[in-house]
Amino acid sequence: MNIAVLLKQVPDSQSVRLDPDTGTLIRDPADAVTNPLDLCALGAAVRLAESFPETDITAVSMGPAGAEQTLRHAMALGAARGILVCDRACAGSDTYVTAIVLAAALEKFGPFDLILTGLRASDGETGQVGPEIAARLGLSVVTGAEALRRLDSGEFEIDRVTETETETIRFSLPAVVCVAKGIGPAPLPTLTRKSWARREPVAAVTAADLGLRPDEVGLKASPTRVVKILHPRLARGGERISLTEPNALDRAAARLRALVEEGGPS
């Protein structure tokens, strides 16, 4: 079974900060991590490989040169190789174009039976690229997998949680599966595996290598455009009570009671 795992390098969500003057995102390359749900996608692949030794895992990413780190990390955790689509021409691609580029990479280095990725990236939070790739490749897609099983029949099953129920979905490969965190990340790498992943070359490809013209990628090819960025004011300028003040607890309780009564019955 050939598995592709799609991973994205993202800013560490704990350290996302905004420049208070310009309101722009402060991106520190040292704070880049692999999107946590993509590591769960890799975890699902690694566990399948444990049960089915014929499994081969390819890690694929699109991003700046630094995203090679994400692929090396994936290789240390179990991928046999890493492929980085790295091309300035792809800068500014929205999810539609990103999916077209990644689908082209999957076609070039595939065919893959199973394409795994995280349900969403912690930076963009769109969750669109997985289903868009499936549509581009004409494959089925199942999203939100909290568990993934291969049945004796050769079919696969996932469990997921929707707004109103937990459900099991059965499907055949080939398919794209977008995983949630119930899947769990891959186990920690061994030292041997880590040092192999450090030395092993990562294939870098451009949009042209994938047969895409410059006008098919990047910002100019993207159907969606950011018109403007708004900075909503957070502050409500509320009342403050500190426990160091006299009668603070009584005052706090009285204020809360007033707020509760103001809001009407529960």
């Binding site: 969500s13 996302v16 905004l18 995102l25 999810t95 539609y96 939070e125 769109t126 969750g127 669109q128 690229v129 868009e132 549509a135 581009r136 004409g138 494959l139 089925s140 199942v142 999203t143 939100g144 949680v161 929707t162 707004e163 109103t164 129920e165 459900e167 099991t168 979905i169 499907f171 055949s172 490969l173 993207s222 159907p223 969606t224 455009r225 950011v226 018109v227 403007k228 960025i229 708004l230 909503p232 957070l234 502050a235 409500r236 509320g238 009570i241 500190s242 426990l243 160091t244 603070a248 607890l249 309780a253 009285a254 809360l256 009671r257 707020l259 509760v260 809001g263 019955p265 529960s266």
Partner: protein, 327 residues
Amino acid sequence: MKVAFFAETADGKITRGAWELLAWSRTLAAPEKTAAVIVTPSIEEAQLQKLVSSGARHVFLCESPALDRADIPACAAILQSFCETYRPDVLLGAASVFGRALFPYAAMRMKTGLTADCTGLETDRQTGLLLQTRPAIGGNVMAVIKTPSHKPQMATVRPRSAPELPPYGGEPGSITRFPAPDSQSLPGAPRVTASIRLTHGEEIADARRIVAVGKGIKREGNIDLARRLASRLGAALGATREVVDRGWLPYSAQIGLSGKTVVPELYIALGISGAVQHLAGMRTARKIVAVNTDPDAPIFQVADLGIVGDLFEVVPRLIDEFSPKTK
């Protein structure tokens, strides 16, 4: 501008998210330009009547018992065939588990753009384009996005962000049934083989009062303190991602960007510092009370009442305040 929305159903009923989309559609377009598209294994007749009498002037229904909600390619093909006939300028869907798989699949098939998880929609006066507002960078900023030259302009819309559905006294809409295109299912297409209804998924999303806990609660055993306050107030119990990640409360209790968006009358944040991801899910609550030891915690910036102090001192006093005998 012709606006269509995808009206999701569950157990034969139109979902809450779909009613919210009707409200959005009516703020964007005149009634005669508002359409609903329904792709479902079955829907109750009364629900259709309610839809056409609430301002959905054109309802397009593909009802087929063989449809499976897990078969995204088949559902997307039907949605595409609707769009090719009706040609809406704008197509809205709910940012539900289903909508967030269906819409990107359909957008790629129709070679158009899609904006995820919008919290605001309006028409650009100059261009007539749909302006789609969504939280970005963990809800820290709002990005306004447009799809200038592709049709339909597609967006999924975050639950509970819609204006109230205005009353409708106009002409009732019409219902047009259309068949599913021939055999769109791939071999071995995904199908739901088992489902169990959640007993308390919506509890938090619907609650008028919420008591939520963050890392400051320190231990799983301390959750009970928050639960007692919640029970005194008739409130639901919610949590930040850190608390859910530690397994102290189920994911259904998670509030924030990767959990639920809530808009209660009263939100009491206990030991929550106020990471932007959490604020994104609760900052539109009508009144917010925060208890935290750190006077600089960002949660205080959105609080109407900020109590700076140890929650283990404050909460027992609040539980006391609302004990049955003092009331």
